[in-house]
Amino acid sequence: MNIFTNIYQYRELLKTSIKKDIGGKYKKSFFGILWSFINPLLQITVYAIIFPIIMKNNIENYTVFMVCGLIPWTFFSSVINRSSCVIVDNGNIIKKVYFPREILPISLVTSETVTFVISSIIILGFVLGYGMGISVYICFFPLLLIAQYILSIGLSFIVSSITVYFRDIQHFINVFLQLLFYGTPIVYSLQTIPEEFRWILHLNPMTYIIEGYRNIFYYQQKPDVGHIFGVIVLGIIITIIGYFIFNKLQKKFAEEL
């Protein structure tokens, strides 16, 4: 495959753009890298106050339960959100030089992955803070990470290339992500959903990912490996389709931007 030799040859570009992305994000702000903790913590505080009041539930340690879903979700939603403008924002460079365009979505997803791994410390903090301890099943974390990474790459290919042609998608994606937030068991548990509607949630690959993280951190039991591999296979299929779409559309990027 051409893509692999391309990326290998331009690995320095991939590395510097990941570094620029992680380092540059908070370069000019006072709190710097701390923002990657403050932001989710503020969000957690809001949700931890609101959801127990408006949605009665008998989930033990609800805050921890929610944090296990919210942090991976933030990773997912910022990948999709940022993918929708990554090509447009880099239009200047795209119009000037040739480089493999797929570097842009790949470096975006990778830098978001690094941010996610760092912010997983928050999950650990809550799990330990509530005295729940850490189980050996945490060793499944990398597997879940890989599944989510592959899925994100595929979706990023599709979203980033299509938005060049239809800028509206940027706005549509915001609405769609909000909808999907409630269509994923993040602030509620899958069991509270009536049996006859549960299949809808099972169509959403993020359900399995969130359930996986929750199993290893919150329930401290072995995650459903079959489900995770299912997501990996789906992710690979989406990535292949996404790459074909991206590759077809990227030929006209310089003209459309």
């Binding site: 460079i93 795209i94 119009k95 030089v97 040739y98 239809f166 800028r167 030929k251 003209e255």
Partner: protein
């Protein structure tokens, strides 16, 4: 027909641009003004065929809008032809617009790394070249300052120095021999000659007929998207000058 010595092969290339008179940028506009979405097709290149061999220095000349820059962009793969095929053999660098990926808040040295990595160099390759690049740019004193403090001439000098030191087999140059002051221009010209003597393949888009004569042994005259004449530099330039004046 493929030959080992061929570096750039352009076969039956057509390029049309859609020129939107009033482009619908959103779905709303597309739906509401579906009949307003007029576009004009502008054929920029028509059936271009040419082969550039290893070690050749070729000048592309022609009036504005004749398709020179488009042809160069096609060769670098920034844009793709509607019909036909372009094959390039070997590492290719384009000096189309200088300073791609430059970030004003980072120092000159850091920007050398950003810029060179866009050209596909690895960290090690850049490490090996960095001294040469800085020396060529003559910016030793300022190299660790953020480049927003540079004058536009200094900026161009830095950008040019990176591009010229990439060590590509094929060099595509668009009208940039006017970088910096007289002294630096001469230096660039000499560097180009040096690269030519090393057997690099070069394509220039230029209006500077003098430097074209000095550097190139072949010239291609584009007119209205077609090749009007292809041959020895001075013959082509003479014919071109005769026609345009």
């Amino acid at each position: 027909m493929q030959d080992d010595e061929d570096r750039i092969v352009v076969e039956h290339v057509y390029k049309t641009f859609n020129v939107y008179l009033d482009k619908a940028n959103s779905i709303k506009e597309k739906v509401l003004f579906w009949n307003r979405n007029k576009k004009e097709k502008r054929e920029v290149l028509k059936d271009i065929n040419l082969t550039i061999k290893n070690g050749e220095a070729v000048a592309l000349i022609g009036v504005n809008g004749s398709g020179k820059s488009t042809l160069l962009k096609l060769m670098t793969k920034i844009i793709y032809p509607n019909k036909g095929k372009i094959t390039t053999v070997g590492k290719l660098t384009s000096l189309l617009e200088l300073g791609a990926g430059f970030h004003p808040d980072f120092s000159g040295r850091e920007n050398i790394y950003f810029n060179a990595s866009i050209f596909g160099l690895t960290k090690k390759e850049i490490d090996n070249r960095i001294d040469k690049i800085i020396e060529f740019s003559e910016l030793e004193q300022y190299i660790d300052n953020p480049i927003r403090t540079y004058s536009s001439g200094m900026y161009m000098r830095l950008a040019f120095s990176v591009a010229i030191n990439v060590d590509a087999d094929i060099l595509l140059v668009d009208e940039i021999l006017s970088v910096g002051d007289q002294h630096f221009q001469e230096k660039c010209l000499n560097k180009m000659k040096e690269l030519k003597n090393e057997g690099k393949t070069m394509v220039f888009v230029t209006h500077g007929l003098g430097s074209a004569k000095e550097l190139c042994d072949r010239a291609i005259w584009l007119n209205n998207g077609k090749i009007e004449m292809d041959g020895n530099t001075s013959d082509v330039i003479d014919a071109y000058v005769k026609r345009t004046t």
